[in-house]
Symmetry: C2
Protein backbone atom coordinates (compact mmCIF):
# COMPACT_ATOMS: atom_id res chain seq x y z
CA UNK A 1 0.00 0.00 0.00
CA UNK A 2 1.52 3.26 -1.13
CA UNK A 3 -0.30 6.07 0.60
CA UNK A 4 2.39 8.39 1.94
CA UNK A 5 1.83 12.00 1.02
CA UNK A 6 -1.25 11.52 -1.17
CA UNK A 7 -3.13 14.81 -1.19
CA UNK A 8 -6.75 15.68 -1.85
CA UNK A 9 -7.00 19.43 -1.66
CA UNK A 10 -9.90 21.84 -1.59
CA UNK A 11 -9.65 22.32 -5.35
CA UNK A 12 -10.65 18.72 -5.90
CA UNK A 13 -13.54 19.04 -3.49
CA UNK A 14 -14.71 22.30 -5.00
CA UNK A 15 -14.69 20.60 -8.40
CA UNK A 16 -16.81 17.73 -7.14
CA UNK A 17 -19.18 20.10 -5.37
CA UNK A 18 -19.65 22.30 -8.44
CA UNK A 19 -19.86 19.58 -11.06
CA UNK A 20 -21.40 16.71 -9.20
CA UNK A 21 -21.55 14.43 -12.17
CA UNK A 22 -18.35 14.43 -14.18
CA UNK A 23 -17.52 12.91 -17.55
CA UNK A 24 -15.04 10.06 -17.67
CA UNK A 25 -12.94 9.31 -20.74
CA UNK A 26 -15.39 6.91 -22.33
CA UNK A 27 -18.04 9.61 -22.54
CA UNK A 28 -20.24 7.59 -20.16
CA UNK A 29 -21.96 9.90 -17.70
CA UNK A 30 -20.25 9.08 -14.44
CA UNK A 31 -22.57 8.62 -11.50
CA UNK A 32 -22.45 10.55 -8.28
CA UNK A 33 -23.49 9.40 -4.82
CA UNK A 34 -23.76 11.76 -1.89
CA UNK A 35 -24.00 10.06 1.47
CA UNK A 36 -25.96 12.70 3.32
CA UNK A 37 -25.84 13.14 7.07
CA UNK A 38 -29.27 14.50 7.94
CA UNK A 39 -28.35 15.02 11.59
CA UNK A 40 -30.18 13.58 14.59
CA UNK A 41 -33.72 14.29 13.45
CA UNK A 42 -35.19 17.76 13.12
CA UNK A 43 -34.54 19.62 9.86
CA UNK A 44 -33.20 22.56 11.87
CA UNK A 45 -30.21 20.38 12.75
CA UNK A 46 -29.41 19.49 9.12
CA UNK A 47 -26.71 21.53 7.39
CA UNK A 48 -27.42 23.58 4.25
CA UNK A 49 -24.89 21.44 2.39
CA UNK A 50 -26.82 18.28 3.26
CA UNK A 51 -30.08 19.93 2.22
CA UNK A 52 -28.59 21.01 -1.13
CA UNK A 53 -27.37 17.48 -1.80
CA UNK A 54 -30.85 16.09 -1.20
CA UNK A 55 -32.45 18.76 -3.39
CA UNK A 56 -29.95 18.05 -6.19
CA UNK A 57 -30.50 14.29 -6.13
CA UNK A 58 -32.62 12.44 -8.68
CA UNK A 59 -32.81 9.28 -6.58
CA UNK A 60 -32.91 9.17 -2.77
CA UNK A 61 -32.26 5.90 -0.97
CA UNK A 62 -32.65 5.24 2.72
CA UNK A 63 -34.25 3.50 5.63
CA UNK A 64 -37.93 4.49 5.78
CA UNK A 65 -37.67 6.02 9.27
CA UNK A 66 -34.98 8.46 8.13
CA UNK A 67 -36.68 9.27 4.81
CA UNK A 68 -39.70 10.31 6.85
CA UNK A 69 -37.59 12.93 8.66
CA UNK A 70 -36.77 14.68 5.36
CA UNK A 71 -40.01 13.94 3.50
CA UNK A 72 -40.74 17.58 2.64
CA UNK A 73 -37.54 17.69 0.53
CA UNK A 74 -38.35 14.59 -1.53
CA UNK A 75 -41.45 15.62 -3.48
CA UNK A 76 -40.01 15.33 -7.00
CA UNK A 77 -37.60 12.46 -6.37
CA UNK A 78 -37.48 8.80 -7.09
CA UNK A 79 -37.49 7.54 -3.48
CA UNK A 80 -36.28 4.05 -2.69
CA UNK A 81 -37.34 3.41 0.86
CA UNK A 82 -36.24 0.14 2.27
CA UNK A 83 -37.83 -0.66 5.56
CA UNK A 84 -37.19 -4.33 5.24
CA UNK A 85 -34.26 -4.42 2.84
CA UNK A 86 -30.93 -5.14 4.43
CA UNK A 87 -28.27 -2.45 4.55
CA UNK A 88 -26.04 -4.06 1.96
CA UNK A 89 -28.88 -4.40 -0.55
CA UNK A 90 -29.95 -0.81 0.07
CA UNK A 91 -26.48 0.61 -0.53
CA UNK A 92 -25.99 -1.64 -3.57
CA UNK A 93 -29.17 -0.20 -5.08
CA UNK A 94 -27.65 3.26 -4.62
CA UNK A 95 -24.42 2.22 -6.32
CA UNK A 96 -26.29 0.56 -9.20
CA UNK A 97 -28.43 3.66 -9.74
CA UNK A 98 -25.31 5.82 -9.82
CA UNK A 99 -23.61 3.48 -12.28
CA UNK A 100 -26.73 3.84 -14.44
CA UNK A 101 -25.98 7.56 -14.52
CA UNK A 102 -28.33 8.82 -11.83
CA UNK A 103 -27.43 11.41 -9.26
CA UNK A 104 -28.07 9.58 -6.00
CA UNK A 105 -28.35 10.60 -2.35
CA UNK A 106 -28.16 8.03 0.43
CA UNK A 107 -29.82 9.32 3.59
CA UNK A 108 -28.06 8.50 6.85
CA UNK A 109 -29.13 9.77 10.24
CA UNK A 110 -26.73 11.64 12.49
CA UNK A 111 -23.24 11.66 10.99
CA UNK A 112 -22.99 9.11 8.14
CA UNK A 113 -19.38 8.41 9.15
CA UNK A 114 -20.30 7.21 12.66
CA UNK A 115 -22.03 3.81 12.43
CA UNK A 116 -23.83 5.23 9.37
CA UNK A 117 -23.86 4.48 5.65
CA UNK A 118 -20.59 6.18 4.58
CA UNK A 119 -18.41 3.10 4.87
CA UNK A 120 -20.75 0.63 3.21
CA UNK A 121 -21.45 2.92 0.24
CA UNK A 122 -17.73 3.56 -0.24
CA UNK A 123 -16.89 -0.13 0.03
CA UNK A 124 -19.52 -1.12 -2.53
CA UNK A 125 -18.69 1.76 -4.91
CA UNK A 126 -15.00 0.78 -4.80
CA UNK A 127 -15.92 -2.76 -5.89
CA UNK A 128 -17.30 -1.38 -9.15
CA UNK A 129 -14.91 -1.42 -12.17
CA UNK A 130 -12.84 1.77 -12.31
CA UNK A 131 -14.38 2.96 -15.60
CA UNK A 132 -17.92 3.10 -14.17
CA UNK A 133 -17.09 3.66 -10.51
CA UNK A 134 -19.31 6.41 -9.13
CA UNK A 135 -17.85 9.42 -7.34
CA UNK A 136 -18.80 9.29 -3.64
CA UNK A 137 -19.08 12.40 -1.52
CA UNK A 138 -19.58 12.09 2.24
CA UNK A 139 -21.53 15.00 3.74
CA UNK A 140 -21.08 15.09 7.51
CA UNK A 141 -23.94 15.73 9.90
CA UNK A 142 -24.49 16.52 13.55
CA UNK A 143 -23.88 13.18 15.23
CA UNK A 144 -26.30 11.42 17.56
CA UNK A 145 -23.66 11.55 20.30
CA UNK A 146 -23.14 15.29 19.81
CA UNK A 147 -26.88 15.96 19.92
CA UNK A 148 -27.28 13.81 23.04
CA UNK A 149 -24.35 15.53 24.76
CA UNK A 150 -25.81 18.98 24.05
CA UNK A 151 -29.11 18.00 25.67
CA UNK A 152 -27.32 16.61 28.72
CA UNK A 153 -25.02 19.62 29.17
CA UNK A 154 -21.34 19.12 28.40
CA UNK A 155 -20.40 15.51 29.20
CA UNK A 156 -17.92 15.09 26.31
CA UNK A 157 -15.65 18.00 27.22
CA UNK A 158 -12.74 15.66 27.81
CA UNK A 159 -11.36 12.60 25.99
CA UNK A 160 -14.07 10.09 25.13
CA UNK A 161 -14.61 6.69 23.56
CA UNK A 162 -17.54 5.78 21.33
CA UNK A 163 -18.59 2.12 21.41
CA UNK A 164 -21.48 0.30 19.76
CA UNK A 165 -22.84 -2.57 21.83
CA UNK A 166 -24.37 -4.26 18.77
CA UNK A 167 -22.74 -7.66 18.37
CA UNK A 168 -24.33 -8.40 15.00
CA UNK A 169 -21.13 -7.52 13.12
CA UNK A 170 -18.59 -7.47 15.96
CA UNK A 171 -17.77 -10.29 18.38
CA UNK A 172 -18.83 -9.48 21.94
CA UNK A 173 -15.29 -10.26 23.15
CA UNK A 174 -13.97 -7.31 21.07
CA UNK A 175 -16.65 -4.99 22.43
CA UNK A 176 -15.98 -6.12 26.01
CA UNK A 177 -12.22 -5.60 25.62
CA UNK A 178 -12.83 -2.08 24.31
CA UNK A 179 -15.12 -1.33 27.23
CA UNK A 180 -12.42 -2.56 29.64
CA UNK A 181 -9.80 -0.35 27.99
CA UNK A 182 -12.06 2.72 27.85
CA UNK A 183 -12.95 2.25 31.53
CA UNK A 184 -9.32 1.79 32.55
CA UNK A 185 -8.30 4.90 30.57
CA UNK A 186 -10.92 7.03 32.36
CA UNK A 187 -12.53 7.96 29.05
CA UNK A 188 -16.04 9.35 29.01
CA UNK A 189 -17.87 6.47 27.29
CA UNK A 190 -20.66 6.96 24.75
CA UNK A 191 -22.68 3.86 23.90
CA UNK A 192 -24.54 3.46 20.62
CA UNK A 193 -27.10 0.65 20.23
CA UNK A 194 -26.97 0.04 23.99
CA UNK A 195 -29.80 -2.50 24.21
CA UNK A 196 -32.44 -4.17 22.08
CA UNK A 197 -35.35 -6.48 22.79
CA UNK A 198 -33.08 -9.42 21.98
CA UNK A 199 -29.85 -8.10 23.53
CA UNK A 200 -30.28 -7.15 27.18
CA UNK A 201 -27.31 -8.56 29.13
CA UNK A 202 -24.50 -6.58 27.47
CA UNK A 203 -25.40 -3.24 29.03
CA UNK A 204 -25.36 -4.92 32.46
CA UNK A 205 -21.90 -6.27 31.74
CA UNK A 206 -20.72 -2.81 30.68
CA UNK A 207 -22.03 -1.42 33.97
CA UNK A 208 -20.09 -4.05 35.93
CA UNK A 209 -16.88 -3.41 34.01
CA UNK A 210 -16.99 0.35 34.49
CA UNK A 211 -17.98 0.00 38.17
CA UNK A 212 -14.60 -1.70 38.73
CA UNK A 213 -12.93 1.58 37.71
CA UNK A 214 -15.33 4.36 38.77
CA UNK A 215 -17.53 5.26 41.75
CA UNK A 216 -21.16 4.10 41.84
CA UNK A 217 -22.25 7.76 41.87
CA UNK A 218 -20.59 8.51 38.49
CA UNK A 219 -23.21 10.35 36.41
CA UNK A 220 -24.76 8.58 33.43
CA UNK A 221 -26.95 10.37 30.89
CA UNK A 222 -29.51 8.61 28.71
CA UNK A 223 -30.99 10.41 25.73
CA UNK A 224 -33.87 9.01 23.71
CA UNK A 225 -34.78 10.29 20.22
CA UNK A 226 -32.63 13.45 20.37
CA UNK A 227 -34.02 16.20 18.11
CA UNK A 228 -37.16 14.15 17.38
CA UNK A 229 -40.73 14.47 18.74
CA UNK A 230 -40.25 11.82 21.44
CA UNK A 231 -37.01 13.38 22.74
CA UNK A 232 -36.34 12.61 26.40
CA UNK A 233 -33.32 13.12 28.66
CA UNK A 234 -32.70 11.09 31.82
CA UNK A 235 -29.91 11.55 34.36
CA UNK A 236 -28.88 8.58 36.45
CA UNK A 237 -25.77 7.04 37.99
CA UNK A 238 -23.42 4.21 37.16
CA UNK A 239 -25.01 2.18 39.98
CA UNK A 240 -28.57 2.63 38.76
CA UNK A 241 -28.73 3.54 35.08
CA UNK A 242 -29.63 0.08 33.79
CA UNK A 243 -32.89 0.32 35.75
CA UNK A 244 -33.98 3.09 33.37
CA UNK A 245 -35.70 2.42 30.06
CA UNK A 246 -33.06 1.89 27.35
CA UNK A 247 -33.53 0.65 23.80
CA UNK A 248 -31.97 0.94 20.32
CA UNK A 249 -33.08 4.59 20.06
CA UNK A 250 -31.22 5.50 23.24
CA UNK A 251 -27.74 6.92 23.52
CA UNK A 252 -25.96 6.40 26.84
CA UNK A 253 -23.08 8.59 28.07
CA UNK A 254 -21.10 7.42 31.11
CA UNK A 255 -19.08 10.15 32.80
CA UNK A 256 -15.38 9.92 33.65
CA UNK A 257 -13.97 10.23 37.18
CA UNK A 258 -14.42 14.03 37.12
CA UNK A 259 -17.93 14.28 35.66
CA UNK A 260 -20.59 15.85 37.88
CA UNK A 261 -24.21 16.95 37.74
CA UNK A 262 -25.33 20.39 38.88
CA UNK A 263 -28.70 22.04 38.33
CA UNK A 264 -29.72 19.15 36.06
CA UNK A 265 -26.72 19.49 33.73
CA UNK A 266 -24.05 16.81 33.27
CA UNK A 267 -20.58 18.32 32.97
CA UNK A 268 -17.14 16.84 32.45
CA UNK A 269 -14.71 19.61 33.37
CA UNK A 270 -11.90 20.35 30.94
CA UNK A 271 -9.59 21.20 33.82
CA UNK A 272 -9.77 24.99 34.11
CA UNK A 273 -9.18 26.41 37.61
CA UNK A 274 -12.31 28.47 38.21
CA UNK B 1 -25.81 13.79 44.55
CA UNK B 2 -29.42 12.98 43.77
CA UNK B 3 -29.72 12.49 40.05
CA UNK B 4 -31.65 9.24 39.55
CA UNK B 5 -34.54 9.60 37.19
CA UNK B 6 -34.34 13.37 36.67
CA UNK B 7 -35.99 14.16 33.36
CA UNK B 8 -35.65 17.05 30.97
CA UNK B 9 -38.12 16.43 28.18
CA UNK B 10 -38.78 18.07 24.85
CA UNK B 11 -41.37 20.33 26.42
CA UNK B 12 -38.69 22.03 28.48
CA UNK B 13 -36.48 22.46 25.46
CA UNK B 14 -39.31 23.76 23.32
CA UNK B 15 -40.07 26.30 26.04
CA UNK B 16 -36.48 27.50 26.12
CA UNK B 17 -36.32 27.61 22.32
CA UNK B 18 -39.53 29.60 22.02
CA UNK B 19 -39.00 31.97 24.89
CA UNK B 20 -35.28 32.39 25.03
CA UNK B 21 -35.37 34.95 27.80
CA UNK B 22 -37.79 34.03 30.53
CA UNK B 23 -38.99 35.93 33.58
CA UNK B 24 -37.99 34.72 37.00
CA UNK B 25 -40.02 35.43 40.10
CA UNK B 26 -38.23 38.64 41.03
CA UNK B 27 -39.27 40.25 37.76
CA UNK B 28 -35.62 40.55 36.76
CA UNK B 29 -35.22 39.70 33.07
CA UNK B 30 -33.36 36.39 33.13
CA UNK B 31 -30.47 36.16 30.71
CA UNK B 32 -30.02 33.55 28.02
CA UNK B 33 -26.78 32.18 26.61
CA UNK B 34 -26.68 29.99 23.55
CA UNK B 35 -23.39 28.19 23.04
CA UNK B 36 -23.49 27.89 19.29
CA UNK B 37 -21.63 25.21 17.35
CA UNK B 38 -20.84 26.86 14.04
CA UNK B 39 -19.41 23.64 12.57
CA UNK B 40 -15.93 23.21 11.11
CA UNK B 41 -15.79 26.39 9.08
CA UNK B 42 -17.93 27.04 6.02
CA UNK B 43 -21.42 28.43 6.64
CA UNK B 44 -22.88 25.60 4.53
CA UNK B 45 -21.90 23.24 7.36
CA UNK B 46 -23.68 25.27 10.07
CA UNK B 47 -27.17 24.11 11.06
CA UNK B 48 -30.23 26.37 10.67
CA UNK B 49 -30.71 26.18 14.46
CA UNK B 50 -27.21 27.55 15.03
CA UNK B 51 -27.79 30.31 12.48
CA UNK B 52 -31.08 31.29 14.15
CA UNK B 53 -29.40 31.49 17.54
CA UNK B 54 -26.75 33.84 16.16
CA UNK B 55 -29.36 35.98 14.41
CA UNK B 56 -31.42 36.20 17.61
CA UNK B 57 -28.48 37.24 19.80
CA UNK B 58 -27.86 40.79 20.96
CA UNK B 59 -24.28 40.08 22.01
CA UNK B 60 -21.93 37.61 20.30
CA UNK B 61 -18.77 36.50 22.08
CA UNK B 62 -15.98 34.44 20.61
CA UNK B 63 -12.43 33.94 19.52
CA UNK B 64 -11.68 36.31 16.63
CA UNK B 65 -10.83 33.50 14.17
CA UNK B 66 -14.25 31.91 14.64
CA UNK B 67 -16.15 35.21 14.60
CA UNK B 68 -14.57 35.84 11.19
CA UNK B 69 -16.19 32.63 9.87
CA UNK B 70 -19.68 33.95 10.67
CA UNK B 71 -19.02 37.67 10.09
CA UNK B 72 -21.90 38.10 7.61
CA UNK B 73 -24.40 37.22 10.36
CA UNK B 74 -23.08 39.73 12.91
CA UNK B 75 -23.82 43.08 11.25
CA UNK B 76 -26.19 44.49 13.89
CA UNK B 77 -24.67 42.82 16.95
CA UNK B 78 -22.51 43.86 19.82
CA UNK B 79 -19.48 41.67 19.03
CA UNK B 80 -16.95 40.89 21.74
CA UNK B 81 -14.01 39.38 19.93
CA UNK B 82 -11.24 38.23 22.14
CA UNK B 83 -8.13 37.30 20.23
CA UNK B 84 -5.91 37.71 23.23
CA UNK B 85 -8.33 37.23 26.09
CA UNK B 86 -8.14 33.88 27.82
CA UNK B 87 -10.98 31.41 27.52
CA UNK B 88 -12.18 31.83 31.09
CA UNK B 89 -12.34 35.61 30.78
CA UNK B 90 -14.17 35.34 27.46
CA UNK B 91 -16.85 33.00 28.82
CA UNK B 92 -17.18 35.06 31.99
CA UNK B 93 -17.92 38.12 29.84
CA UNK B 94 -20.70 36.12 28.20
CA UNK B 95 -22.15 35.12 31.57
CA UNK B 96 -21.94 38.69 32.87
CA UNK B 97 -23.70 40.05 29.79
CA UNK B 98 -26.46 37.47 30.21
CA UNK B 99 -26.84 38.33 33.90
CA UNK B 100 -27.19 41.95 32.81
CA UNK B 101 -30.23 40.82 30.78
CA UNK B 102 -28.69 40.47 27.33
CA UNK B 103 -29.38 37.62 24.96
CA UNK B 104 -25.91 36.23 24.34
CA UNK B 105 -24.41 33.80 21.84
CA UNK B 106 -21.00 32.24 22.42
CA UNK B 107 -19.46 31.09 19.16
CA UNK B 108 -17.60 27.77 19.27
CA UNK B 109 -16.13 26.04 16.25
CA UNK B 110 -17.05 22.46 15.39
CA UNK B 111 -19.23 20.97 18.11
CA UNK B 112 -19.18 23.14 21.26
CA UNK B 113 -19.42 20.00 23.39
CA UNK B 114 -16.16 18.50 22.06
CA UNK B 115 -13.19 20.49 23.43
CA UNK B 116 -15.34 23.60 22.81
CA UNK B 117 -16.98 26.26 24.97
CA UNK B 118 -20.04 24.32 26.23
CA UNK B 119 -18.45 23.12 29.45
CA UNK B 120 -16.80 26.34 30.50
CA UNK B 121 -19.92 28.45 29.88
CA UNK B 122 -22.04 25.98 31.85
CA UNK B 123 -19.54 25.85 34.70
CA UNK B 124 -19.35 29.63 34.98
CA UNK B 125 -23.11 30.12 34.61
CA UNK B 126 -23.73 27.58 37.37
CA UNK B 127 -21.48 29.60 39.71
CA UNK B 128 -23.87 32.54 39.45
CA UNK B 129 -26.48 32.86 42.23
CA UNK B 130 -29.64 30.92 41.38
CA UNK B 131 -31.83 34.02 41.19
CA UNK B 132 -29.80 35.58 38.37
CA UNK B 133 -28.37 32.41 36.81
CA UNK B 134 -28.73 32.60 33.03
CA UNK B 135 -30.37 29.78 31.07
CA UNK B 136 -27.76 28.02 28.93
CA UNK B 137 -28.66 26.24 25.71
CA UNK B 138 -26.04 24.13 23.92
CA UNK B 139 -26.54 24.00 20.14
CA UNK B 140 -24.56 21.13 18.63
CA UNK B 141 -22.56 21.48 15.46
CA UNK B 142 -20.78 19.27 12.94
CA UNK B 143 -17.62 18.30 14.78
CA UNK B 144 -14.08 18.77 13.49
CA UNK B 145 -13.55 15.03 13.73
CA UNK B 146 -16.72 14.32 11.74
CA UNK B 147 -15.75 16.80 9.05
CA UNK B 148 -12.22 15.38 8.84
CA UNK B 149 -13.53 11.82 8.63
CA UNK B 150 -15.89 12.73 5.78
CA UNK B 151 -13.01 14.20 3.76
CA UNK B 152 -10.88 11.11 4.38
CA UNK B 153 -13.63 8.62 3.50
CA UNK B 154 -15.08 6.57 6.35
CA UNK B 155 -12.38 6.01 8.96
CA UNK B 156 -14.71 6.24 12.01
CA UNK B 157 -17.09 3.48 10.97
CA UNK B 158 -16.14 1.40 13.99
CA UNK B 159 -15.53 2.17 17.68
CA UNK B 160 -13.23 5.15 18.16
CA UNK B 161 -11.50 7.19 20.85
CA UNK B 162 -11.07 10.95 20.75
CA UNK B 163 -8.00 12.30 22.55
CA UNK B 164 -6.59 15.81 22.82
CA UNK B 165 -2.80 15.92 23.01
CA UNK B 166 -2.82 19.36 24.62
CA UNK B 167 -1.21 19.07 28.05
CA UNK B 168 -2.06 22.62 29.13
CA UNK B 169 -4.99 21.41 31.27
CA UNK B 170 -4.30 17.67 31.44
CA UNK B 171 -1.16 15.95 32.75
CA UNK B 172 0.76 14.18 29.97
CA UNK B 173 0.68 10.96 32.03
CA UNK B 174 -3.14 10.89 31.75
CA UNK B 175 -3.00 11.47 27.99
CA UNK B 176 -0.34 8.80 27.56
CA UNK B 177 -2.33 6.27 29.58
CA UNK B 178 -5.41 6.95 27.45
CA UNK B 179 -3.39 6.51 24.28
CA UNK B 180 -2.11 3.17 25.60
CA UNK B 181 -5.63 2.00 26.40
CA UNK B 182 -7.06 3.17 23.07
CA UNK B 183 -4.24 1.43 21.20
CA UNK B 184 -4.67 -1.79 23.19
CA UNK B 185 -8.43 -1.73 22.59
CA UNK B 186 -7.96 -1.43 18.82
CA UNK B 187 -9.96 1.78 18.74
CA UNK B 188 -9.68 4.08 15.76
CA UNK B 189 -7.94 7.06 17.39
CA UNK B 190 -8.74 10.69 16.57
CA UNK B 191 -6.26 13.27 17.86
CA UNK B 192 -7.22 16.88 18.51
CA UNK B 193 -4.47 19.47 19.08
CA UNK B 194 -1.87 16.97 17.85
CA UNK B 195 1.12 19.30 17.81
CA UNK B 196 2.08 22.94 18.33
CA UNK B 197 5.24 24.95 17.84
CA UNK B 198 6.03 24.38 21.52
CA UNK B 199 4.80 20.81 21.83
CA UNK B 200 6.42 18.47 19.30
CA UNK B 201 7.47 15.29 21.12
CA UNK B 202 4.02 14.03 22.20
CA UNK B 203 2.86 13.03 18.71
CA UNK B 204 6.07 10.99 18.32
CA UNK B 205 5.33 9.24 21.58
CA UNK B 206 1.79 8.48 20.44
CA UNK B 207 3.21 6.97 17.24
CA UNK B 208 5.53 4.73 19.27
CA UNK B 209 2.75 3.58 21.58
CA UNK B 210 0.37 2.68 18.77
CA UNK B 211 3.15 0.98 16.78
CA UNK B 212 3.45 -1.51 19.63
CA UNK B 213 -0.13 -2.61 18.87
CA UNK B 214 -0.62 -2.09 15.10
CA UNK B 215 1.31 -2.66 11.88
CA UNK B 216 3.54 0.09 10.48
CA UNK B 217 1.33 0.21 7.35
CA UNK B 218 -1.81 1.14 9.36
CA UNK B 219 -3.40 4.09 7.54
CA UNK B 220 -3.29 7.52 9.15
CA UNK B 221 -5.24 10.48 7.80
CA UNK B 222 -4.32 14.10 8.48
CA UNK B 223 -6.82 16.86 7.74
CA UNK B 224 -5.92 20.53 7.91
CA UNK B 225 -8.55 23.30 8.08
CA UNK B 226 -11.55 21.10 7.16
CA UNK B 227 -14.32 23.14 5.50
CA UNK B 228 -12.10 26.25 5.37
CA UNK B 229 -10.20 27.83 2.44
CA UNK B 230 -6.87 26.15 3.29
CA UNK B 231 -8.45 22.67 3.55
CA UNK B 232 -5.99 19.87 2.81
CA UNK B 233 -6.16 16.10 3.23
CA UNK B 234 -3.08 13.87 3.53
CA UNK B 235 -2.98 10.08 3.72
CA UNK B 236 0.02 8.47 5.39
CA UNK B 237 0.88 5.45 7.53
CA UNK B 238 1.56 4.84 11.19
CA UNK B 239 5.26 4.45 10.36
CA UNK B 240 5.54 7.76 8.51
CA UNK B 241 2.78 10.17 9.47
CA UNK B 242 4.84 12.29 11.85
CA UNK B 243 7.04 13.28 8.88
CA UNK B 244 4.05 15.17 7.45
CA UNK B 245 3.22 18.74 8.39
CA UNK B 246 1.02 18.76 11.51
CA UNK B 247 0.00 21.71 13.67
CA UNK B 248 -2.81 22.88 15.96
CA UNK B 249 -5.18 23.20 12.98
CA UNK B 250 -4.66 19.55 12.02
CA UNK B 251 -6.80 16.61 12.98
CA UNK B 252 -5.15 13.20 12.90
CA UNK B 253 -7.07 9.92 12.56
CA UNK B 254 -5.17 6.65 13.14
CA UNK B 255 -6.90 3.57 11.72
CA UNK B 256 -7.59 0.40 13.65
CA UNK B 257 -6.28 -3.05 12.69
CA UNK B 258 -8.89 -3.36 9.90
CA UNK B 259 -8.61 0.10 8.32
CA UNK B 260 -7.46 0.24 4.70
CA UNK B 261 -6.97 2.76 1.89
CA UNK B 262 -8.37 2.19 -1.59
CA UNK B 263 -8.60 4.69 -4.42
CA UNK B 264 -7.51 7.46 -2.06
CA UNK B 265 -10.23 6.80 0.53
CA UNK B 266 -9.57 5.68 4.11
CA UNK B 267 -12.12 3.11 5.25
CA UNK B 268 -12.63 1.24 8.52
CA UNK B 269 -14.98 -1.62 7.67
CA UNK B 270 -17.99 -2.15 9.91
CA UNK B 271 -17.77 -5.88 9.40
CA UNK B 272 -20.25 -6.63 6.61
CA UNK B 273 -19.43 -9.64 4.43
CA UNK B 274 -19.41 -8.16 0.93
Amino acid sequence: MRTGGAVRGSDANAFIAQNGISQCNSGHRRGQISVVGIGPGHLSDMSPRAREALVAAEVVVGYDTYLELVRELLADKEVIGTGMMREIERCQVAVDQAIAGKRVAVVSSGDPGIYGMAGLVLELALKAPADVRPAVDIIPGISAVGAAAALLGAPLMHDFAVISLSDLLTPWEVIRKRTEMAAAGDFVIALYNPKSTRRVSQIEEVREIVLRHRPAATPVGIVHHASRPKEKVVLSTLADFTKEFIDMFSLVIIGNSQTYVKDGRMITPRGYRL
